[in-house]
Point group: C2
Chain length 192, copies 2
């Protein structure tokens, strides 16, 4: 295969993954068929299935790759203060990627073919988010209790994202972020 064809394949995959996440976020699992994604990406159904043989492959790959790209962007905040880091983590859970992931998680509870894939994916994304938060917060997990502070913060971010699903309230979110940044900073500083 020539370099040109390889590059074209990568560009097609990226278009498909972006389209799959956008469809999931907007239309939910039942509305996000393979045909809808192919059409939105401007790719034939056959070409889609060449890259992603099953619907499960397509959507789990899409959420994984787009979430990775997002968390790579947050990593660039290294050195920022706690409030900045907490805000960036909360933002990860309020956009279309979280919405897409939520549709996938919920669908997996009742779709036996999807479930094992999503359980693995959730574990990978969760570990990655935890590692990123520890790094950015400069948290020392060898100190007892520090691990749970970081986990609780990530749970709070996830819960804020869920609350924003139907009724986004940026003002409330910002006040909670500000207060909890202070609490997390104190808990890490006090323990560290």
């Amino acid at each position: 295969m020539t370099d040109h064809r390889l590059a074209r394949g990568a560009a097609t995959r990226r278009r498909l993954l972006d389209a799959a996440v956008a469809c999931l976020a907007e239309l939910g699992w039942s509305g996000s068929t393979v045909s809808v994604v192919a059409e939105r990406a401007g790719v034939s159904r056959g070409a889609l299935q060449h890259h992603y043989p099953t619907r499960e492959d397509l959507f789990t790959s899409a959420v994984e790759h787009v979430a990775e790209r997002q968390s790579a962007a947050v990593r660039s905040l290294a050195g920022a203060d706690v409030a900045c880091v907490v805000r960036a983590i909360v933002d990860l859970y309020t956009g279309p990627v979280f919405r897409a992931a939520l549709h996938l998680w919920v669908a997996a509870t009742t779709e036996p073919r999807l479930r094992p894939r999503v359980v693995q994916l959730e574990a990978r994304i969760g570990r990655e988010a935890h590692r990123m938060a520890v790094e950015l917060l400069g948290a020392d997990e060898s100190v007892p209790g520090v691990r749970e502070v970081v986990q609780g913060l990530l749970d709070m971010a996830r819960g804020l994202g869920l609350a924003s699903l139907l009724t986004p309230d940026a003002g409330r979110r910002e006040r909670v972020v500000e207060r909890w940044a202070g609490i997390v900073g104190g808990a890490l500083g006090g323990a560290g």
Copy 2:
């Protein structure tokens, strides 16, 4: 209508609401048709529709009434210590009622007829949960920052519930609850 018929009507409604929540939690929104709920409750479809004319009526009423019953049970903890209260709040978000509510919330993002009903319901349940948490924690919301501590705690509970959806991990949950009960207790005591 005689007292006997009234009582029978209330018992039928309760059976329907319990069946609706159980179906949503197990089968999700698309699997939870009116017929499935009627069958599970042992009630005719006509009788169901007499009490709840539309599918939206049935499921929003079900989540509302069962959530109310649950939070009334938690209120009985008045006077318990912070760790107990935090654990009980987190438990509200990890059972089948939360799972049912989650299916309803997610379905509402793509179902225009469901959305306005669920937005109202979410606001009522959210206010109720907040009021309950404030009471049980003895939090004084006139002190700046206290309101956001309680809100963040409820967001954390919601996020822990979401994380438990596919991979329940009671050990992790308990460690986060214990650590954060200490932090929340400190933040409320320190501010109050």
